[in-house]
């Protein structure tokens, strides 16, 4: 099977967010970047498991600038066969999706893997967009995937439950927790990654239709009100009268 995994770069989860003076951008000094956990832990690993079971190849793709190469190398170290970076500074989900679709359309991938969301913008949009550009089915929030021949059985998270669906390749899916178990790259993988191909292709022109134009920080939270452990009636009263939530 020919498999594609779309990987994105996100700030490390404990990153403190600070804005520039006019609130139009984030300060990037001191920000550490990681591969988006859903892409790394679940999407990539499930793709590798599939390849190990049925043969084929796993390609990792990222839309971004040269600074992303360390993250792409990590995908190679975990086990992807080759990687492609589409050289662009991405500014919107639709722009990223267009680039991935342009690259993928002539490659005939059987399954395209996404993470359920990038943890920076929490959009959960790119996968559905690529699937639409390529006119293929899209199963979001997959937490189980079994493939036999051209037929895949996928379980997906829905509100308060699971849905199981059957679909033929080619299709796209987004990976949620449960799809696979995280793999840590070993020394051999890291050494081998240096010799694996990382191809850089140029982006196609595409006009953004939506763009973040300003940022603000949420208002600071007022200090916690401590309640005497021997007076839980007081807590209940406050929840009822002050917070009005019960």
């Amino acid at each position: 099977m020919k498999l594609l995994v779309c990987i994105s770069k996100t700030p490390e989860t404990t990153t403190k967010i600070a804005l520039n003076e006019d609130g139009t951008a984030f300060k990037t000094e001191g920000v550490q970047y990681i591969m988006n956990p859903y892409d790394e832990w679940y999407a990539l690993v499930r793709a590798l498991e599939l390849k190990e079971a049925v043969g084929g190849s796993v390609t990792a793709v990222n839309v971004g600038s040269a600074g992303n190469d360390t993250i792409i190398r990590k995908a190679l170290a975990i086990g992807a066969d080759d990687a492609v970076r589409i050289n662009a500074e991405p500014h919107s989900s639709l722009y990223i999706a267009k680039q991935i679709a342009e690259f993928a359309k002539s490659e005939n991938f059987d399954i395209i893997f996404f993470g359920k969301e990038a943890i920076d913008y929490n959009g959960s949009e790119v996968g559905a967009m690529v699937a639409e550009f390529l006119d293929m089915p899209f199963i979001s929030y997959a937490n189980k995937l079994e493939v036999e021949g051209n037929t895949a059985k996928v379980a997906r998270e829905i509100e308060g439950g699971v849905e199981v669906a059957e679909v033929q390749t080619p299709f796209a899916l987004s990976a949620a927790k449960g799809l696979a178990e995280q793999r840590i790259p070993n020394m051999r993988g890291i050494m081998m990654a240096k010799r694996k191909p990382l191809k850089v292709v140029e982006a196609v022109d595409f006009e953004d239709q939506a763009k973040a134009v300003a940022y603000e920080l949420p208002p600071p939270k007022s200090a916690v009100k401590l309640i005497d452990p021997d007076n839980m009636e007081e807590l209940v009263r406050l929840l009822h009268e002050e917070a009005k939530v019960i």
């Binding site: 913008y121 929490n122 959009g123 300003a214 916690v224 401590l226």
Partner: protein, 318 residues
């Protein structure tokens, strides 16, 4: 026109659908236009959406639409948007909405904003705010395309009744064949699913073991709340995975989140810090969660939670 895609489950409309219509109605007012709703698949009471401000409710009642296929839904919605001349399309930020918003955006070359919490401003272009970095910042997104797509985060505004139910109108659209065969849908019966729950009681590693969950469940029962947990708790199998909230689990925004025995790591907060009111019960006064809490109780949870449960019962009885 503002068109609201109103979701239902086996013909039943949930609060999220009414919230979306209320949001659509208010957006339409800002823009000086009408709000309509569209319902896909069989649903008996679709006209009820009129009460929340949809002046027309279009219903494509074909039973092939009873189950979601994002590709089919997108084709139908794109056709409806074009037939009706809608310039804004609103949906809920649920598993269904998320799988359609992106597709529609690609299909129509329309800009989108996913998971917004406030009404747009329209005086200087169409702009909406949404959380980014798991709520650590808020972005203003400007959408410049002719058609604008927005998904609304649940529990962001209260549904408001502004009129009466209306008659539904049918809409002639071609429905393509689905490439996805849904084999089964399993929902946990009884309790409100976490993403829709207004009251949530959650436990962490401080609970010490799965055998101790009775204390937490008693409180949840007394409140009528849904239960949740931190990641290590789900990972070690003390509780089912679907209860795991946080950055790698689900993000929730209930009215009340009660956390016991949870330290409040940033990745946990990422999934819960949008809750309206947070109560933290922890024996360690230095636990970081207290910084994000509205009310705190510094105590051993095994001693204090049963007292809280009793106090809730007493309150409910009055």
């Amino acid at each position: 026109m503002v068109l609201v895609f109103a979701e239902h489950q086996n013909g039943q409309f949930k609060k999220a659908a009414f919230e979306a219509v209320t949001y659509g109605y208010k957006t339409a007012q800002l823009m000086g236009t009408d709000c309509a709703a569209i319902v896909l698949g069989e649903a008996e009471e679709a006209g009820i959406l009129g009460a929340y401000g949809a002046s027309k409710v279009y219903h494509v009642a074909d039973q092939s639409l009873n189950k979601l296929d994002s590709q089919v839904y997108t084709t139908v919605l794109a056709e409806a948007i074009s037939q009706l001349g809608a310039t804004v399309c609103i949906m809920t930020h649920t598993s269904t909405g998320k799988s359609i918003l992106g597709r529609l955006s690609a299909r129509l070359s329309a800009g989108s904003a996913a998971g917004v919490k406030e009404l747009p401003t329209v005086s200087d272009g169409f702009k909406v705010k949404k959380d980014v970095f798991s709520g650590k910042a808020i972005a203003t997104v400007s959408i410049t395309s002719d058609i604008k797509l927005v998904s609304l985060m649940g529990n962001s505004l209260q549904p408001e009744k502004v009129g009466d139910a209306v008659e539904t109108a049918s809409l002639e659209v071609a429905i393509p064949e689905s490439k996805v065969k849904v084999l089964s849908v399993d929902r946990v019966e009884g309790t409100t699913p976490l993403p829709e729950a207004e009251l949530v009681v959650s436990g962490g590693r401080g609970m010490k073991g799965p055998e101790n969950w009775g204390v937490l469940e008693d409180l949840a029962d007394a409140l009528g709340a849904t239960t949740a947990c931190s990641r290590p708790v789900a990972d070690t199998g003390w509780r089912p995975h679907h209860e795991h909230v946080g950055q790698t689990g689900i993000a929730i925004r209930p009215n009340l989140y009660i956390a016991m025995g949870i330290s409040g790591a940033i990745q946990h907060l990422a999934g819960v810090n949008n809750s309206k009111t947070i109560v933290v019960i922890n024996k360690d006064p230095e636990a970081p969660f207290f910084k994000a809490a509205d009310y705190g109780v510094v105590a051993d949870l095994f001693e204090v939670v049963p007292k809280l449960t009793e106090a809730v019962k007493k309150f409910k009885a009055e």
